[in-house]
Amino acid sequence: MRVTGFSALMTLIVLAAGIFFSSPFAALLLSFATADGFAQLLNRQVLVVIGTSLVTALMATGLAAVVGTVLGYHFTFRKKSGGRWLKTFFSLPLVLPPSAAGYMLLLAFGRYGLIGAPLYQTFSLQIMFTATALVLAQFFVVTPLMMQAASSAFQQVPESLVKASHSLGADDYTTFIKVLLPLSRPVLVAGVITAFARAIGEFGATMMVAGRLKTIPIMIYSKAMGGDAGVADGLSLLLVLLSFLVLLLVNLLGERRR
């Protein structure tokens, strides 16, 4: 009897969760169908926003892939005292509210900021409210993701393979390129894909530094607040499809690895 009761309770919770999580998707599909969201996407302004989002997210992901992989390598193989603190510090953007992250970037890279002021005074270089700022904000948020993926990928490589490489005469660089990277490739690729999805969907930090520029999430927000449901529906569905594709790819890579 207890088993039956437990099963019923489990089924009930799964059903409730299913209804809760599927309702926003159902609502979006319904709204998209009635507002003819797809047609709304073929507008020049929207296409520019999609382009900006894609380009900045790709650049941020590229940068994060390099820097995150290096950080992951550093914290896996070059363990020094205080490494745990430093790794926690680099992971902070993962849990930091994105708006706070954006505000901090403003303080650092704004025209009167810690780094922004000397850059502006010396080179007349303004970072905030440009596409560079969007890249920086996305990079700031996704690098820890990439670092964690790289760290876990490198930890999965048996220690004896690294030792074998060194004993065969390979230096750290050759071992990294010839042994670690090829063996970690599936996890690293999954990390890059996840980082890209996170970058293109980044809202809080990007919003703080975007100025008049718009990315897909910023446009969804502004259109939804302005009552323009068609564009918001189309862009939201685009992000849903992209996210679905990303998860599918990551799962496929995971299965291949196993």
Binding site: S165, H166, S167, L168, A170
Partner: protein
């Protein structure tokens, strides 16, 4: 011209792993490092290879100090316990990895690859990935990967532990042949006393990071310095005994529960001893009721031999091949003896037969026994 370790100590996270390890191994010789799991055997190899940095002590090879050299600068080949073949590379790419890392000329790479593949009979496996190879084949590829750049020192970390008995024997012979042919100095880690016996010119017994004994295999096996070494080298019969008479420095009379034995290997002082009798040094014969225990007279110039009657066979346990392990008992004292099937059949021995035991005095090895030592029964 030797590989010398002088008081090498290693600590990891504040835990002492190796404590003042010292030994000298002539170039071209093989040393088997024998010890329990966690004794520090593998770490010792990693220190020699430069993969772990020791905190104190010195390592030198052929007069060249090694301590300041990186692993890449030492000419050392390392065969890992799990072979550590790169799974994403073919056998050929695995073998060439070291040559490429050391930037050997391409022509030389091809020549050496061909030579080592022929030597180890792996020509037909070169295009396969490690996952497509059997354990024995992986082992050969791992060995080829080390031998291809002609290392000065070859380190092998329990290379046979994952193989079946038949492959183990074949590969052990092959490794020994290659080591002798190329006169490569070899450190071979194992916890298997049988491997230690035939793989090493020297054997070093290590326990809890300390060297307990080093010597030729026959010396380690027939003259263990402690009960730990005796037990670890499968001296199945370790009996509490008492020296009742010393006849000069060469011969002593020692009493055990089942009778008296003459021994030529005994401590200079003290009467309480552990008497070590290796099962392979004991022999059995059908006993006649009128024959009493007798001890030959060493002073007569003949080889001192002990004949002890009154044993009864408790069980006969088949071993590999034609060997059997015979368990005897006399006055509550149990002994294990290796015999051949043929011997047992010819003498008509069976369970409950009365038998006589023969052992040379030179094979009766006595160790000093402390009062707090616990009696160690044979397995």
């Amino acid at each position: 011209m030797s590989l010398i370790l002088d008081k090498v100590s290693l600590n990891i996270d504040g835990h002492p792993i190796l404590k003042q390890i010292s030994f000298r191994l002539s170039i071209g010789q093989s040393l088997v490092v024998l010890g329990n799991s966690g004794a520090g055997k593998s770490k010792l190899l990693e220190v020699v290879a430069g993969l772990l940095k020791h905190q104190s002590g010195k390592i030198s090879f052929a007069g060249r100090e090694q301590d300041t050299l990186s692993p890449q600068e030492r000419k050392i080949g390392f065969v890992f316990q799990d072979y550590a073949l790169f799974p994403h590379l073919t056998a050929e790419a695995n073998i060439l990895f070291g040559l490429k890392a050391r930037q050997a000329p391409i022509k030389e790479q091809a020549k050496w690859l061909k030579a080592v593949a022929a030597e180890l009979k792996i020509d037909h496996l070169l295009k396969r990935f490690p996952a497509e190879l059997s354990g024995g084949q992986q082992q050969r590829v791992a060995l080829a990967r080390c031998m291809v750049f002609r290392p000065e020192v070859l380190l092998l970390d329990e290379p046979l532990s994952a193989l079946d008995a038949a492959s183990r024997e074949r590969l052990a012979l092959l490794m020994k042949k290659i080591q002798k042919k190329y006169r490569v100095t070899m450190l071979y880690v194992t916890h298997d006393h049988n491997e230690a016996r035939y793989m090493g010119d020297q054997v070093l017994v290590i326990d809890q990071g300390r060297v307990i004994q080093m010597g030729k295999p026959e010396e380690i096996f027939s003259r263990p310095v402690s009960r730990f070494v005796a037990h670890f080298t499968a001296t199945r019969n370790i009996l509490p005994g008492r020296i009742t008479k010393r006849c000069g420095d060469d011969l002593a009379r020692v009493e055990v529960a089942s009778g008296e034995l003459m021994s030529t290997s005994f401590p200079a002082r003290g009467e309480d001893v552990w008497v070590c009798l290796r099962p392979e040094y004991l022999s059995l014969s059908d006993t006649l009721p009128e024959v009493s225990d007798r001890i030959s007279d060493a002073r007569s110039g003949k080889l001192a031999a002990n004949f002890v009657s009154g044993y009864r066979i408790v069980q006969i346990i088949p071993q590999s091949g034609v060997t059997v392990l015979v368990e005897l008992v006399k006055q509550g004292e149990r002994l294990l003896v290796f015999a051949s099937n043929r011997e047992i059949e010819q003498q008509g021995l069976h369970v409950n037969s009365d038998v006589e035991l023969t052992v040379d005095a030179g094979q009766v090895h006595c160790l000093p026994r402390q009062a707090e030592d616990i009696y160690c029964r044979p397995e």
